[in-house]
Symmetry: C2
């Protein structure tokens, strides 16, 4: 008899029919003897409906009141799911974030979970009930309602699993696991049975939208076994593991990509300490996140400095850079928002030389010019012209033999 | 500087435009220096939408989960009203029933308020904020969400006013006060500037739908000055007072009526103790509320027993009565669901003889036959054929001179 925390997203509970289907799934597992805590999101479309309602009243509502409003979305779902479970004879109880004391800091709209009082949940589990918990929401020290930001229900699920020391945290989504790459681009893409936590972190941050990155970090911190499964199909999904030295680990686990980036370059900056920090500080002050950063020293005592930002921040970042480059007496500022980032990810590359050269050769063979390179312990990322996205991902997927089981 | 608790019903906050209008009204009063606590209902239609959603999942949902669901209605409104207030520069904070500890018993769906922790509200008032509180909802001792039943927002308003010892509790509705009778029937009907608590109680229970009766009882218990006003028009409304010996009190305050009744009669029941109790006990077991009860002793040692019920319960009550009358060996059972009740109400009638005879004479002059009579300290009710409703109400309104200010 295992203790399982399950999380169902907005699409999985998007209609009364789907809520009934989730209830059937949950009741079946309960009958098999597992203890179940089910974390749910707002029904798909509900959060947008509420946001629209808020904006019809106040185009710039205070984050506190917005959280009070948005929290009704999950509260609706927990009540409906509990009703659906009771209908089929499965005892259940619903709880808001407030009721199970999901205590967060007071950063409305993107609060972080501090702790959870799991005693009440345990009580209900001991009485044979399925416990249904509202995802995405919590309560700060003063009793104000907070939300964790979009996708925060994943984090609620993981935090609940950590607090209860659950045997597994299952995240149900509309995909049936983590793939070697996006099957819409590479039809031969293969579902991974397991993936390490670090690889998942890299894949998530690189744009695989299966799991919210904060929930993966959270799971890693408390070593919560995490599984990604489909709400709509049966199957084992993908298990995210914490095996440090897995000899059987494939060299490369997957190919990730990100279409939402733009790059900016300052050329001919005096090569002095603190220049990069100064530039990034100005960008950061404008609340723009920087992804890749590359710096090369030129021959004439000046340096070129390139970084990427979210494409939506491109214009703002370019304006800041033009201003800063005047102060720095830089030679030239340029940018390009028609780029993409492609990354190969795998814990196995730590112990295998030559992954980088194989990657670069594969791209060169297809005539794809590499504009930027950035590497970490378990990933290599390149920036290329956006027109090469599909060609690049497909050729790398094939070159590393990802369509075959290792 | 007064401390005022205001309550706005579902129609008053039924759309973003109306919520903005309420915000304007509240902000104006705040500017005049009053401290304000605003209790709101769910937007009109919202509770029905949620009920429909629940029934699409479970035709007989558990009361606990239904309360979790319904409570989202007011939570939505409090957030939207706080946003609307902030937009026009009026600092505000919204709170759910849970957050201000509106503690109730655990009778889901019709919980009763036990106490309110007003410290948090006071804190915000001291900081110059308008406090917006969700009506209709509370939390039981174990932290479960409860609701007070339809119309319970009035009770929340009164309870909040009692806890804060507010100077006045203002109930905003779609009418601009309590009238001498329904203006749709008597165009000369006059708005009352003030009415006693006892009269209001009689008028409310007799079908004047201005205030929920429980809230009036609650107000009486804590002697909360209550005022009924219109959300849509300016005006002083009607103040409900607790003056016991008001020499200026008019003899009659108003004419109430109720179209929703039906009467049932058992004839020739043995005139023994416990017969009435037995009949009413059977009716009560079927969850049917009895309103008027009249019993006459006949000449032959038997008695006739007549009572009224809600028209919707007529058929069920008649079936029960037929069964019971067989056991009791009663001579005959009859019923009529084409009747109405008309009542004259006024604290002044305590010290004025002749009100009853004036009432009966007025009806007789119009050829209206009286089928039943029932009296209390401050009201006289008669049951007449439903076709006489308008004629009866109009002639009584005129006979008691209610169109003129006393």
């Amino acid at each position: 008899m295992a203790l399982i925390v399950q999380k169902y997203g907005g699409t999985s509970v998007g209609s009364p029919e789907r809520i009934n289907a989730v209830a059937e799934k949950v009741a079946r597992m309960r009958k098999n003897g597992d203890d179940l805590v089910v974390v749910v999101s707002a029904m798909s479309g509900e959060t947008d409906r509420l946001l629209k309602l808020a904006r019809s009243i106040n185009t710039d509502p205070s984050p506190r009141e917005l959280d009070v409003l948005l929290a009704t979305g999950e509260q609706t779902t927990i009540a409906l799911l509990a009703m659906a479970l009771e209908k089929i004879g499965c005892p259940a109880r619903s709880y808001t974030g407030h009721q199970v004391h999901i205590r967060t800091d007071n950063v409305y709209g993107k609060a972080r979970i501090l702790d959870i009082d799991e005693s009440r949940v345990r009580d209900d589990l001991n009485k044979g009930r399925v416990v249904v918990v509202a995802g995405f929401q919590g309560v700060d020290e003063d009793g104000n309602i907070t939300t964790l930001g979009r996708g925060g229900s994943d984090t609620t699920g993981v935090a609940m699993a950590a607090a209860l020391k659950a045997d597994e945290c299952q995240i149900y989504t509309d995909v049936d696991g983590v793939y070697t790459t996006d099957p819409r681009i590479v039809p031969e893409a293969r579902r991974l049975d397991r993936i390490t936590f670090e690889e998942m972190l890299e894949l998530a941050s690189l744009g695989s939208k299966v799991l919210q990155i904060r929930s993966v970090e959270f799971a890693g911190k408390y070593r919560v076994p995490l599984r990604v499964l489909s709400s709509f199909a049966e199957g084992p999904g993908t298990l995210i593991t914490y095996e440090e030295n897995n000899m059987e680990a494939p060299v490369i686990s997957g190919i990730a990509f990100n279409r939402d980036e733009a790059k900016l370059t300052v050329r001919g900056v005096p090569d002095k300490p603190g220049i990069a920090a100064h530039i990034l500080n100005e960008i950061g002050k404008a609340n723009i996140n920087v992804d890749m950063i590359v710096q090369n020293v030129g021959a004439d005592g000046t340096t070129d400095f390139t970084f990427t930002v979210h494409r939506g921040d491109y214009k703002k970042a370019l304006d800041i850079l033009k201003r800063v480059s005047l102060e720095l007496k830089a030679r030239e500022v340029s940018g390009d928002d028609k780029i993409v980032k492609i990354s190969v990810v795998g814990v196995g590359m730590r112990s295998h030389a030559g992954i980088a050269s194989q990657m670069f050769r594969t791209l060169a063979d297809e005539g794809i010019n590499i504009q930027m390179i950035s590497t970490s312990e378990i990933k290599i990322s390149v920036v290329v012209d956006e027109k090469y996205l599909e060609l690049g991902v497909r050729s790398l997927h094939k070159a590393f033999g990802l369509e075959q089981k290792p």
